[in-house]
């Protein structure tokens, strides 16, 4: 295909090297290359120590004069609020939930990785770093990942000191378990509720600072706009979701810890309220969105049961430690009681294809293989559309080997949850599972300091893009959220705040007034369209498009089609959506309308990013780029870069900025788990 890419900026070749064709031609313009100018050089093991040392300090007496806004109270936001509060900064913390304790980190089940090597099984900081870069399919930044591995051990220390009740051995010392994609036991856990326990630890630390007066919490508040003055992020416009009041909050620095955007798919394991609005509003104000197409489809979720479904429920990946995944060898067995299918007629396909990792292959591989066997007609459970979308996760062997009590102790709450949702008892009948959207590796672009390309706008946790590459390993999201919140951000934000406090601004500043007016106009627009379709109906339709064309397998034709469909849907939304009620009251339809409007724009960008990336890597599988035996095929010569997208203006094309990924401490290889 000929390629005359529109050019913005003067450093770009009209025909990029090594690029024979360009699927995304006509959908974007190519901008200047970017680089992480903060990334330190030198031996990888010294980089963080050196960088921390070089970052300037803020005198304790000055800290209380510095206002920090943090949006989101999950692990990344809650931990940052607590830590910055303890340090003496003046923190304002925002969440849409009625309490910071309810942020969706709470739903993480399996565990948190740390390179403690308590099992003496050969773990180390370097091995955790290596596993994470490899698991991310060589699309993450090595300096960031090494730092993550480096601070992982401190996280466990901190959480234990806060009273997080991790699982322990009989001697009273901490227990570990293994997780997908690795061959050591480095995962700390609290039964199947690790996220809950870690979040409550961070929440309690944060509430302690509320009592101390260093943190002010604004619950049931939603950030609807970013305020930028003289090129610096200086505050947010938020809506009080109870009274509808539009509030202006000004500060010296803004931190977005607002989580991921998996709900663009409508059905996902995210909470119903999880949304992209805070990040997307920042993107529209100039913050780059990096690798938006990198989505994690989690292999072990409870299958969809019908059209009414509002969300999908994850079954922790830790279940793959003891459960064996299989489908019948013969399609005609798929409707039989699984207990009646003899051993020789079962296909334990992960153990067969990947003998060395077996059921513990990384998530992207486990998900795609589940899709493959179901596409072959060997899925189990009810028909959804033309297929049975489910595979068995069988605990019969584990129950035989360990006894039912031991299995119960490990997984009780998960088994209960499964039974409650499906009405089936997994101690007796194998569970049925199917992949579901779970996490996004993409997010706002940040440098080594976790600062976006907008001065004074920092982004942490799932909301940023930096640590997981194209695929995140299990038990690493909790690690990254807490690493960012407790140990990274507090050490990088001080370099920026050392120049503060910045010039005082007030609410009458033209930029502040403009941001506020934008929010008010948008709300009035939603309420005045008065069309015929509900917000949810648009959200569902968008979700179907995304799942079909930008889900587990993506193709050029499918993505092009999806982009057209999303554009049409967006146009229809803005002329035909119906939002009842008023602006000055609690109005859940109005809240959703704003979120879905942003998801529609994000969905389009995700498809453009997926179209541009003509390789398969991690969670991004392009059907055109696979090996003979159907494994993902990367193209490091063309795509070893971060795709950072700049907003192209209303109706304009996004601008692609490439950041080359350079590895000095690790060699890029095609992943193999065989």
């Amino acid at each position: 295909m000929a390629s005359t890419v529109d050019v913005s900026g003067n450093t770009v070749l009209t025909t990029p090297p090594n690029q024979q064709s360009d699927d995304a031609h006509g959908y974007y313009t190519l901008g200047e290359k970017i680089a992480d100018t903060k990334a330190p050089a030198g031996p990888i093991k010294d980089r963080w120590t050196t960088h921390k040392m070089n970052n300037r300090l803020v005198n304790p007496a000055n800290r209380r004069k510095l206002d920090v806004i943090i949006v989101g109270t999950g692990l990344a936001g809650g931990a940052a609020a607590a830590t910055l509060g303890e340090a003496g900064y003046n923190v304002k913390s925002f969440c849409y939930q009625d309490s910071p304790r309810r942020a969706h980190s709470i739903a993480a089940q399996g565990g948190i990785n740390a390179a403690k090597n308590y099992k003496e099984d050969g773990d180390s900081t370097y091995r955790l770093f290596y596993d994470t870069v490899k698991g991310g399919d060589y699309r993450s930044r090595e300096s960031n990942v090494y730092r993550l591995a480096e601070v992982s051990a401190n996280i466990i220390d901190q959480c234990v000191a806060q009273g997080v009740p991790f699982a322990r051995e009989y001697g009273g010392l901490l227990d570990n378990r293994s997780f997908g994609g690795v061959q050591v036991s480095r995962t700390f856990y609290a039964r199947g509720q690790t996220g809950q326990q870690l979040l409550i630890g961070a929440y309690q630390a944060m509430e302690r600072q509320v009592a101390a007066g260093t943190v002010t919490q604004y619950t049931r508040h939603e950030m609807l706009e970013l305020i930028i003055v003289d090129g610096k992020a200086r505050g947010i416009i938020a809506r009080d979701m109870v009274t509808g009041a539009i509030e202006t909050h000004l500060a010296d620095v803004v931190v977005l810890a607002s989580g991921g955007y998996g709900n663009v798919f409508f059905l996902s394991t995210n909470a119903m309220g999880s949304n992209v609005t805070a990040a997307w509003r920042a993107h529209r104000k100039g913050a780059y969105m990096a690798n938006p197409c990198y989505t994690q489809i989690h292999p072990t979720c409870i299958p969809v049961s019908g059209d009414h479904q509002s969300k999908l429920t994850l079954m922790s990946e830790s279940l793959r430690n003891d459960g064996r995944i299989w489908v019948p060898k013969k399609a005609e067995d798929c409707t039989k009681d699984p207990r009646d299918i003899p051993e020789e007629d079962r296909d334990y396909y992960l153990e067969r294809i990947y003998p060395s990792f077996g059921n513990l292959v990384p998530r992207d591989i486990a998900s795609r293989q589940a899709k493959n066997v179901c596409d072959e007609g060997r899925g189990v459970g009810p028909m959804v559309g033309d297929f049975r979308r489910g595979v068995y996760l069988d605990f019969a062997d584990a129950i035989k080997r360990l006894g039912e009590d031991a299995v119960r102790e490990k997984y009780d709450n998960l088994f209960d949850m499964y039974e409650r949702i499906t009405g089936e008892n997994p101690y007796e009948v194998p569970m049925r599972i199917y992949p579901a959207v779970h996490y996004v590796m993409g997010g706002l672009w940040v440098d080594y300091d976790l600062q976006s390309n907008i001065d004074g706008l920092f982004v942490t946790g799932e909301a940023n893009f930096s640590d997981h590459g194209a695929n995140r390993l299990g038990a690493s999201a909790l690690m990254q959220g807490l690493a960012d919140g407790y140990f990274v951000l507090p050490n990088t934000i001080r370099e920026y705040l050392a120049d503060g406090p910045f010039d005082a601004i007030d609410e009458s500043h033209p930029e502040v007034v403009a941001a506020r007016t934008e929010v008010e106009d948008r709300i009035q627009k939603f309420l005045s369209i008065n069309g015929t379709r509900t917000v949810d109906s648009y959200h569902k339709e968008l979700g179907n498009i995304m799942w079909e064309y930008c889900g587990m397998e993506r193709t050029e034709d499918g993505l092009r089609k999806a982009i057209d469909m999303i554009r049409e849907l967006k146009a229809d939304f803005w002329s035909n959506v119906k939002v009842l009620g008023t602006a000055d009251s609690l109005n859940q339809s109005l809240e959703k309308a704003g979120r879905v409007a942003d998801f529609l724009e994000l969905g389009e960008l995700m498809c453009i990013d997926a179209l541009n990336r003509r390789e398969s890597c991690g969670g991004h599988f392009r059907a055109e780029s696979q090996t003979e035996d159907g494994e993902a095929l990367r193209h490091d010569d063309e795509f070893a870069y971060v795709a950072a997208w700049e907003f192209g203006g209303e109706g304009g094309q996004p601008v692609l900025h490439k950041e080359d990924l350079v590895y000095t401490a690790i060699e890029m290889k095609q992943r193999s788990y065989k």
């Binding site: 009625d98 739903a107 234990v160 009273g163 009273g172 409550i200 009592a211 909470a271 009405g423």
Partner: protein, 247 residues
């Protein structure tokens, strides 16, 4: 299945509320209770009526956002959260009454949504271990007996939903408070603040307008996480010890 729903509608905190009746058809047994309300809300909006406001978020029983008194029971007839309650627990033709949590300390915000911020303030008064980031010793330097750690975990699974308060005839949050006091009190890290914690939390609890515990036990039977009643005994024991210390 076909249902008759009687739902509490209230415009805002200061407005007068009332139960309103809605007929709903086409509900399947596999739907969750909240998905049934989703269907109702889509229908209401189609008819130009404002949807019923209710709190919900994770829909997997862990965030503690959902609430609802269902036929007079907190979270309905099963031992679980409302979001994990499925319509297979009801029958075709049932009439279901849906109300918000009822407690002085949880004022209604709108329809089925209440204000539970009093729980945050109880935690602020002492429901934590003071351990600044960076100051922690090596995690395995302080072993914690396994049985105590397990008890700590079991009660730390409290999701802060408020069902215990809604179920209590006296509107007491003793189960919520007892769970936190037991969680932190069972761990070696929680000992230094153990007694000041209980005194401060109880004072805040009373200040918020929650009632005292009268040992009825409705709280524990309503708790979706099965927090046992004996955490209240632990609370009282720690409080008595604290009083003896003169705290």
């Amino acid at each position: 299945m076909r249902l008759t729903l009687k739902i509490w509608r209230q415009e805002n905190a200061s407005a007068q509320g009332a139960l309103q009746t809605y007929d709903l058809d086409g509900i399947s047994a596999d739907m969750s209770f909240l998905e049934m309300l989703d269907v109702l809300n889509e229908k209401l909006q189609g008819e130009g009526q404002e949807p019923v406001a209710f709190d919900h978020d994770c829909r997997e029983g862990i965030c503690g956002t959902c609430s609802l008194m269902i036929n007079g029971e907190a979270h309905g007839p099963e031992v679980t959260t409302t979001c994990q309650l499925h319509m297979r627990s009801f029958n075709d033709g049932d009439t279901i009454t849906i109300e918000p949590w009822r407690a002085d300390a949880f004022p209604v915000v709108r329809d089925l949504i209440v204000d539970r911020s009093a729980f945050d303030r109880i935690i602020q008064s002492g429901g934590f271990i003071s351990a600044n980031t960076g100051s922690a010793p090596e995690a395995n330097s302080v072993p914690a007996p396994r049985d105590k750690a397990m008890r700590a975990f079991n009660v730390a699974t409290c999701i802060g939903c408020g069902a215990c308060v809604a179920a209590c005839p006296n509107g007491s949050a003793s189960l919520f408070m007892g769970a936190k006091i037991t969680h932190l009190g069972e761990l070696p890290q929680g000992q230094p603040e153990r007694y000041s914690r209980v005194v401060d939390m109880v004072a805040q609890h009373d200040h918020e307008g929650f009632g005292g515990c009268t040992n009825i036990g409705e709280c524990a039977s309503a708790c979706p996480k099965e927090i046992p009643l004996d955490v209240i005994s632990q609370l009282n024991k720690d409080l008595r010890d604290a009083m003896r210390m003169g705290l």
